[in-house]
Symmetry: C2
Subunit: 524 residues, 2 copies
C-alpha cells in the first residue's frame, strides 16, 4: 500500500479512541457497514462481468442476480438496529470528537442511511427495474434513431426521479436532491452561476481559436496501430503513472469505465480503434486516473466514508487531470513519443511538436464523447440545463428533442440530422442518471485548479513529467485528495487542497495556455 499523506489521518477504525462502550458500538457499526460494502462490491463485480464477459443469452438472469444483491444491500442499509446504533453514536462523544474519521463515519453513514430509508422499497425496485428496461429500449432506440421508442420510458424515468427527489431530500428543490447523490453538497443554482462564467469564457476562447492563424492537425495520429501494440503501450503508460496492476485490471468494453470490486481490485476498461490510437490512449489515461483515485483511498477504511471517494466531480477531476492536463502536455509527449516510436516501430516522421499539437485539435461536433477538451463542457451545460428544466417541470419530456436540436444548433452551429446523433446519444437518462452530467464539468474545473496548485508548489514537475516520473504529482494527489476520502465535500476539499474556493478561472487559463499557441493565438 502506498503510504498516504503525513498531513492526513492514517488510522483505521480500530485505532479510534474514546469511551469503551462507545467504541464497542462504533466497531459494530463499522462492521455492519463494511459487511454491506462486501456485498455492494459483489454487485460491482456483477456489473463489470456484464459489461466485459457475460455470454449474450445470460443478460436476463444477470438482472435477477443484480436485483437480488441490490435488495440484500438495501435491507442491510435500512436495518433498524444499525440505525439505532448510529443514532446513539450521533449523540455521543465520537460524533463531535477530535477524530475526523470517526466523526465523518458517524455523520455520513447516518446521512446515507436516512436518505435510503426515506425511499420506499417499492420505489427502489421500480427505479432499478425501469432503469434496466429503459436502457434496453435506449439501445434499440439509438440503433434505429427512433425517439418515439424511448419517450414513454423517459416520461416514466423522470416521474420516478421526481418522486425519488421528494423522498430523498424533501427539504431541497428536486434537482438538487438528485444532484446531491452524485455531488454531495452540490447545488444547481451555484453550479449554474459557475457554468455561466465558464460558458462566456469558452465561447470567447473558441472564437479566438477558430479565428487563429494556425490550426493543429491530427493527421499524424490517424494511422494504423495494431491493437496489441496499443495495448502494450497503454499498459506501460498506465503502470508508469502509478496504476497498480497487482491491484487492478484492464479489459475491453464498448463503453469504457472504471469500477471497484474491493480495496485491492480496481478494474478499468477501454475500447480500441486500430486507425486512431488516441481513443484507447486517452481513454486509458482517463480511466486509470479514476483508478489511481480508487487505489489511493485508505484501504483500512474501505467501505466506510473515510475510505470513499468524495464525489463524482472529484472523481472526474482525477481522470481528466491525467487524461488532459498531463496527457495533452508537451512535457508528457517528450517522454511518451520515444515510447510510442519504440512500441510501434513507427512515428519517426512525426516531430514532438506535431505529435503534441495533434492532441489539441478543436472541432465542434454534435457528439459529447467525441468532443475536444474546449467544446466538451458546452455539451455538458446543454444537458444540465435541459435535465434541470425537465425535473422542474418546465420542459415536458415530449418537447426534449426540439429543445435539444435548437440548443445544439445555437452552441455548435450544427443541427442533428437524426435523434441518434442528438437526443439519443447518451445512455445516462435511460439509466436513471439525472443530475449526473454536471459532475463532468465540475471535474474539469477541479482538475485545472488542482493542477495549477501542484505546478505552483512543484516547480520541477514539468521536468519530472518529461522524464516519465509521475511520483511527485501522484503523491500530491494522494495527500491532498485521495487520502481525505469523504471527509470534506468537493468545494471545501478543493479549497483545502489549493487554497481557494473552486472557480472556472483555472480551467479557462489552462485551456488558453495550452490551446492558444497551437492555434497561433497569444494568451489574453
Amino acid at each position: 500500500m502506498n503510504d498516504p499523506a503525513a498531513a492526513t489521518p492514517l488510522n483505521s477504525p480500530n485505532d479510534i479512541e474514546g469511551p469503551s462502550d462507545e467504541l464497542q458500538i462504533f466497531s459494530e457499526v463499522c462492521k455492519h457497514a463494511r459487511g454491506t460494502a462486501v456485498l455492494a462490491d459483489v454487485e460491482a463485480l456483477l456489473g463489470w462481468d456484464e459489461q466485459t464477459m457475460l455470454p449474450p443469452a445470460a443478460a436476463g438472469y444477470r438482472g435477477e442476480q443484480a436485483a437480488a444483491l441490490a435488495s440484500i444491500v438495501h435491507e442491510r442499509w435500512i436495518d433498524p438496529a444499525f440505525g439505532d446504533k448510529l443514532a446513539r453514536l450521533a449523540e455521543g462523544p465520537l460524533a463531535e470528537g477530535d477524530d475526523p474519521d470517526a466523526a465523518a463515519t458517524i455523520r455520513l453513514l447516518r446521512y446515507d442511511r436516512d436518505c435510503r430509508t426515506r425511499m420506499p422499497s417499492r420505489l427502489v425496485e421500480e427505479l432499478a427495474s425501469t432503469g434496466v428496461e429503459a436502457q434496453q429500449a435506449w439501445v434499440v432506440a439509438r440503433r434505429d434513431s427512433d425517439w418515439a421508442l424511448l419517450e414513454p420510458w423517459l416520461q416514466r424515468i423522470f416521474a420516478l426521479k421526481r418522486e425519488q427527489a421528494a423522498c430523498r431530500r424533501p427539504d431541497l428543490e428536486p434537482y438538487d436532491a438528485l444532484l446531491d447523490e452524485y455531488e454531495p453538497g452540490g447545488r444547481a443554482a451555484a453550479i449554474a452561476e459557475t457554468f455561466s462564467s465558464l460558458r462566456e469564457g469558452l465561447v470567447s476562447l473558441l472564437a479566438q481559436l477558430r479565428g487563429g492563424p494556425r490550426s493543429p492537425s491530427d493527421r499524424p495520429v490517424r494511422r494504423r496501430l495494431p491493437r496489441e501494440v496499443q495495448e502494450a503501450l497503454v499498459r506501460e503508460v498506465a503502470g508508469r503513472i502509478g496504476f497498480d496492476f497487482d491491484r487492478g485490471r484492464l479489459d475491453t468494453t464498448a463503453h469504457p469505465f472504471c469500477t471497484t470490486i474491493g480495496p485491492d481490485d480496481c478494474r478499468i476498461t477501454t475500447r480500441w480503434d486500430e486507425d486512431f490510437f488516441p481513443t484507447s490512449f486517452f481513454g486509458v489515461l482517463h480511466e486509470a486516473g479514476h483508478g489511481l483515485y480508487e487505489q489511493g483511498l485508505r484501504q483500512s477504511w474501505h467501505g466506510l466514508p473515510p475510505g470513499e471517494a468524495a464525489s463524482l466531480g472529484i472523481h472526474e477531476s482525477q481522470s481528466r487531470l491525467w487524461e488532459n492536463l498531463v496527457g495533452r502536455s508537451p512535457a508528457f509527449w517528450r517522454w511518451c513519443l520515444p515510447l510510442l516510436r519504440k512500441a510501434s516501430g513507427g512515428f519517426a516522421d512525426v516531430s514532438l511538436e506535431e505529435m503534441h499539437e495533434a492532441m489539441l485539435v478543436v472541432r465542434p461536433s454534435m457528439i459529447r464523447v467525441e468532443a475536444d477538451e474546449v467544446t466538451y463542457n458546452l455539451h455538458v451545460m446543454l444537458r444540465f440545463d435541459l435535465e434541470r428544466a425537465m425535473v422542474q417541470g418546465e420542459l415536458p419530456v415530449a418537447d426534449l428533442p426540439a429543445a435539444w436540436n435548437e440548443r445544439c444548433e445555437r452552441d455548435f452551429g450544427l443541427r442533428p440530422s437524426n435523434a441518434a446523433e442528438g437526443v439519443l446519444q447518451d445512455i445516462h437518462w435511460s439509466a436513471g442518471l439525472v443530475g449526473y452530467f454536471p459532475t463532468y464539468t465540475l471535474g474539469n474545473l477541479y482538475a485545472a485548479q488542482l493542477m495549477a496548485a501542484v505546478q505552483r508548489e512543484q516547480p520541477g514537475l514539468e521536468k519530472a513529467i518529461a522524464e516519465g516520473d509521475f511520483r511527485s504529482l501522484l503523491d500530491w494527489l494522494r495527500q491532498r485528495v485521495h487520502a481525505r476520502g469523504r471527509l470534506l465535500e468537493s468545494g471545501p476539499l478543493v479549497a483545502a487542497a489549493t487554497g481557494e474556493a473552486p472557480t472556472a478561472d483555472w480551467l479557462l487559463e489552462s485551456l488558453a495556455l495550452r490551446y492558444g499557441p497551437a492555434h497561433g493565438v497569444e494568451p489574453a
Copy 2:
C-alpha cells in the same frame, strides 16, 4: 434452447397440476429455492473470477465476499418457513403424485435441506475457512515439496470431514456420508467391488499392451502450435460438438474447470501448451463435455432438482465421453485431421493412422492429471482406498506419504522422488473434497456404457462423427441423461439409459478395442 426428449417430462414448475393450495405452497417453495440458486450462482461467479481474472492482491477480500455469499445461501437453505412448507408438501398429494418432477423437487429439496440443517453453522464456517487456508498451504507445500507444511492442515480437514459425515448422514458409515454428497446413493462397499473387478481387468490389459509388438508414439503431436491457432481450433471443435458460446465462455486458467453461473451462462477454461496441443485440445473436449451437460439441463427447472446434474459421476461421464470415446476415436480424427491441417498449415506429414495412434500412448506415470486413459483409473483407486482408510481411522494422516509411495510403486512400478510428485500432487483433500475421487472412475465406467448403448442404437454414428456431425449423439445424451436432471440417481439413470445396471465391463471392452490394435494386440 434445445428441445430435450420426447420421452422426458418437459413441463416447468408452473405446469404442475394439483389442488390449488398445494400448488400455491409448491410455487412458494420453488420460488425460494430458485432465489437461493440465483445467489449460489453469484458464488460461482466469484469462484470463476478468482481463477481467471482476480488481481493478485485481491485474494483475501475475495475470501470475505465468498464467505458472505455462502452464509446468505446457507441461511436461505435452513430457513424454517421453507422447511415447514417442504414438510407439508411431503405429506401432500404432489409428493406421491404422477408428476415425477414435482415429486423429485419435494423429495430432494427436503433431503438437501435436512442434510444442511443437520450441519451446525459453526462447522459450515470452519469447513469453509479451513478449506481456504489449507489450499493456500497446499500451494506452498507443493511448490516446496514439503509434506510437513500440509500435514497439520490435513489432520484438521479429515477431523472436520468426520464431523461433517456424522452430522450429514449419521445413519451411514462416515465415508459413505461424504461420498453421498457428490454421488447421491453411492456406497463405498459397492464401489470397492466394482473397482476390484475393473482393477483386475486393467492390470491384465496393461500387461498385454505393454507386452504388445507395437507401441504408439505421440511424436507427431509434439510440435509447436501457437496458442492462437490452438484457440481457434478448440473453439471450432467445441462449437461443433454443440457447446453454445451464446450461453457460455472459454477462458484460460492454470487448473481447467467448468462452472455454471446461470441457466444460460456456463463457463469452461483451459490451459495452453504451445509444444503439445493435446493439452488444450482434450482439455477443452473434456470441459465442453461438462458444459454440454449443463447446457442440456432443462432451463425452466434451473435451481431445482429436475434442472440439476444427477451426480459428479454422471457429470464426469459426459466429459470423458467427449474427451476419450469421441475424441480419441479414428472416426473423429477422420473429420478433425483436415481441420487441424487447415488451422495450423502443418501436419501434412502425419497420416490419419499416426495421428489417431498418437492419442493412444499408454505410459504409467506418477501424476494423475497427466495419466493416459488406461492407467488413469489406477490413480483414482489409490486415492479412493487411502482416503477411505483415513476417514475410517484406519490410516493415520501422518502415515499417508509412506502409504502413498508404497502403493504408487506397487501400481506403477515408480516411486515418487519427492512429495510434490506423490502425495502433494492433488488439491482435492486440502480443499475438503473427500469422497470425490471415485466419481472420476465412475464417470469413466458410465461413459463407456453409455457410448456402447448409443453405438448399438445408432449404427450410423461412426459415419456421422467422421463427417463432424455430432447431433444424433448429443440428442441421445440430451434425452437419456441431461433432460432427466436429478430425477434418478446415477445407477438407475445409467440403467434406464442403457438397459443394464452399471458395470466395469464396457470400459474394459472399450479400452481393449481401442488400445489393443494400436499396440498390435488382438482383443481377447
